[in-house]
Symmetry: C2
DNA sequence: CCCCCCATCTTGACAGTGAGCAGTTTACGG
DNA sequence: CCGTAAACTGCTCACTGTCAAGATGGGGGG
């Protein structure tokens, strides 16, 4: 992209209109139905009604398409985390809300959530993707400490609690989705195991 | 399988000898080199010096081969966890040792570790695999509580601390391997972030 | 002793995939 | 009104997983 100013409202009497967005949508559908392993770029193009090599022009190859999809997913997760209303809540309660939102996102977008943490498998290194991944931690940290302090540097010891919350919630989510935890429960993501685990975590109660 | 009694010491002047084990080994090599996404059953067979469809008889299809590989990986992880000498250590120290072992295993067998938690992507449901996955938690729990109590049922509230440790360590490991945490560190698995996070976790100090 | 059976492995073929390359259609700027 | 560059097409190539049918060899029944 860069200088194209026509993909927006031109409608669909173009060649196709805004193929990029349409491809992202159809790719999401395919990904949701077939999973990451069964994903096929050709099928995504097929569902968008274009030829098999049309995506080549917008995204370079399959990794490019999946990368764009993952980037969009990171953005959505960040938006949801930042959209939470945590004003006036105690730290413990803020953690619970954030964890619930994180788990809900994962449950509602399983294939997408899988993809997000599988990008190294595709040896994909896009700066924007790393940027969004970083934004996720910052959103989580801001929510945890009540929008207060500016998160300093990545290795600041003050970030340890945020990292711990993230790791615990993320680990629980992936293990539960994989069926390794609470395998009897048909919907392990909404049990009361995660809240119980979070009570074991000492979170500093900043005002 | 079931009644084959010749694959053991018969040597290699058979057709090939014990192809099953050879295939598992070459498959592990391919998996390590190319990663889960780039894995190819044909190449595994090629490296074992046999034809492309030789694996068909031992493992049904590609999922069968990867499943067997993952099962063996679970067993190795369990063995390592159970092989730790934790006698006379405080709970906090036991947790640290177990976490270190878990992280070491993941770092030394990255591709294998990835595969272990990706099996649902291959809609693979083998009873032995679930069994080994279960054994992992039990080993972790036994180590945590000092070989003392028999772990009761899966949903027993006494297991919550073990689940919490597992989730935290597992989440940290996957996030670190993915580059989401401590991305500056060339070897994030051996930093001091994980111990710092573990100190935030309240572990019951059973004798 | 021999021969047949069956597990094991090979060959060949099919459908489907990702990735390049040469050509064709279309909208826009001159 | 037309040239140009983007957008899109069909083609080819190498590769993959999976299947069906043919070779190969050892072990057990005759």
């Amino acid at each position: 992209m860069g200088g194209m100013g026509k993909e927006t409202a031109a409608g669909d009497h173009y060649h196709h209109g805004n193929l990029r967005a349409a491809l992202l949508d159809s790719a999401l559908v395919v990904l949701t139905e077939k999973g990451v392993a069964g994903f096929s770029m050709r099928e995504a193009a097929r569902r968008a009604g274009v030829s098999q090599s049309a995506p080549k022009h917008h995204f370079g190859d399959a990794r490019g398409l999946l990368g764009a999809l993952a980037t969009r997913a990171y953005r959505r997760l960040c938006d949801r985390l930042e959209g939470l209303d945590l004003a006036g809540l105690a730290a413990r309660e803020r953690v619970a809300r954030i964890a619930a939102e994180y788990v809900s996102f994962a449950g509602e977008n399983r294939a997408l959530f899988d993809l997000m943490w599988r990008m190294t498998q595709f040896d994909f290194t896009a700066p924007e993707l790393a940027e969004q991944k970083h934004r996720a931690l910052r959103a989580l940290d801001r929510g945890l400490r009540g929008e207060k302090a500016a998160p300093v540097h990545d290795t600041d010891p003050a970030l340890v609690p945020s990292y711990a919350v993230w790791a615990l919630v993320h680990g629980y989510t992936t293990l539960a989705l994989e069926g390794a935890i609470d395998s009897g429960n048909p919907d392990p993501l909404h049990g009361d195991l995660l809240p119980a685990m979070l009570t074991l975590l000492a979170v500093p109660d900043l005002p």
